[in-house]
C-alpha cells in the first residue's frame, strides 16, 4: 500500500490547492479528505460547486462517480457482511479504488489477521491522503498559481495506472474505448453531464460485447 500512498501525493496536493483556488476555506478543504476520502468524488464536487451546479445535480454526480463502490461492496460482500458492524463500517469507509485493487488476494479479509492487515493498509492510506491534502492547502494558500503547474496530469496518470492493468479482456477494452470516445464527443459538444453519459455508454458497450461473445 505504501507505493500507492506515495503515488497519490500529487493527487492529494492537487486536491488541496484546487479547493483553495476554487474559494473553499482550508477547513472545508481538509474536511473533504477527512469525511469523504475519495479523490475522484472530491475533485468532481469541488469543480461542480465552483460552477454553481444545482445541489440535486451535484448529489447525483457524486452518486455516479461513487457508484463503482457498489461493485467493490458486492465483491467483498461474502467476506465482510458476516463481520461485526465495526469492521464493516471501518473497512467500508476506507474502501478506496486503491485499497480494493490492493485487496484482490483470494484470502483477503478471510481471517482476523487479514482484517487488521487491511485496516493498516487502508488506515495508512487515509492518513497519507490527509497529509497530502494539508500540504496542498498550504501550497494553495502560499502559491495561488500552483494548479498551472500541471498537477492535474498526476490525477490522469493515477487513473491510467488503475485502468490499464484492468484491461485484460475484449469487453473491458471496448468499454474503455467507448467511454473515452464518447467523453471526447461530449467534450466537443460541451455536454454538461458528459461524465455520467460516457461512463454509462462505456458500461453498456462492455456489457454488450460480453453478451455478443457468450
Amino acid at each position: 500500500m505504501l507505493p500507492l500512498s506515495l503515488a497519490v501525493l500529487p493527487f492529494g496536493v492537487l486536491f488541496g490547492s484546487l479547493a483553495i483556488q476554487k474559494g473553499f476555506t482550508w477547513l472545508e478543504g481538509q474536511l473533504f479528505s477527512v469525511i469523504i476520502f475519495s479523490g475522484a468524488v472530491q475533485l468532481v464536487t469541488v469543480e461542480l460547486v465552483a460552477e454553481n451546479t444545482p445541489f440535486v445535480a451535484l448529489l447525483f454526480m457524486a452518486l455516479v462517480v461513487s457508484s463503482r463502490h457498489f461493485l467493490y461492496g458486492l465483491r467483498l460482500r461474502d467476506r465482510l457482511s458476516t463481520q461485526s458492524v465495526r469492521w464493516r463500517i471501518g473497512l467500508g469507509f476506507l474502501m478506496t479504488d486503491e485499497l480494493f485493487a490492493f485487496s484482490n488476494h483470494r484470502r483477503s479479509y478471510a481471517s482476523k489477521y487479514r482484517l487488521y492487515y487491511a485496516l493498516g493498509a487502508g488506515g495508512s492510506f487515509y492518513v497519507a491522503w490527509n497529509i497530502w491534502t494539508a500540504m496542498g492547502i498550504f501550497a494553495g494558500v502560499a502559491l495561488p498559481d500552483l494548479s498551472n503547474l500541471g498537477l492535474d496530469f498526476a490525477v490522469a496518470a493515477v487513473f491510467i495506472a488503475l485502468v490499464i492493468p484492468e484491461v485484460k479482456t475484449m469487453p473491458t477494452l471496448i468499454c474503455v474505448l467507448a467511454s473515452a470516445a464518447s467523453s471526447l464527443l461530449f467534450l466537443f459538444y460541451g455536454f454538461e453531464l458528459g461524465l455520467i453519459a460516457s461512463a454509462g455508454i462505456g458500461m453498456l458497450c462492455g456489457y454488450g460485447m460480453q453478451r455478443v461473445r457468450s
Partner: protein
C-alpha cells in the same frame, strides 16, 4: 450550517453509503446477473471518463496539437502502464514526457 458544509456532509454520506451498502448483512439483496455484469465495467468506464478530459481539454477547448503536453504524457503513461503494470513507472514515465514536452514548447 453553511451551504458548503451541507454539501460536503451530503456528498460524504452518499460516498459512504455506496461503500457500505452491500457490506450490510441485513440487506435482502439479490442482484440480477445483468446488473452485476454491467457494474463490473463501472470502474474502468468511470475512471476513463474522468482522465480523458484531463488529457484533451486545455484552456476550455479540445487540444489535439503536438504541443499538448498532457496528450504526450498520457500516451507515455498508458504505454508504461501496459508494459509494466507498475504505478511508479506509469506516473514516472508519463510525468517525464509531460514535463519534457511542456518545457520544449514553452521555452
Amino acid at each position: 450550517m453553511s451551504p458548503t458544509l451541507v454539501t460536503i456532509l451530503s456528498v460524504a454520506f452518499i460516498t459512504f453509503i455506496t461503500r457500505y451498502l452491500f457490506l450490510e448483512e441485513k440487506l435482502p439483496l439479490r442482484l440480477g446477473p445483468t446488473i452485476t455484469q454491467l457494474l463490473s465495467f463501472s470502474g474502468p468506464a468511470v475512471l476513463t471518463a474522468i482522465f480523458i478530459p484531463i488529457l484533451f481539454f486545455n484552456n476550455n477547448e479540445i487540444d489535439i496539437s503536438v504541443s499538448n503536453a498532457y496528450l504526450w504524457g498520457g500516451v507515455g503513461a498508458i504505454t508504461a502502464a501496459y508494459k509494466t503494470k507498475n504505478i511508479y513507472w506509469t506516473i514516472g514515465f508519463g510525468g517525464i514526457l509531460f514535463i519534457g514536452v511542456g518545457i520544449y514548447f514553452n521555452l
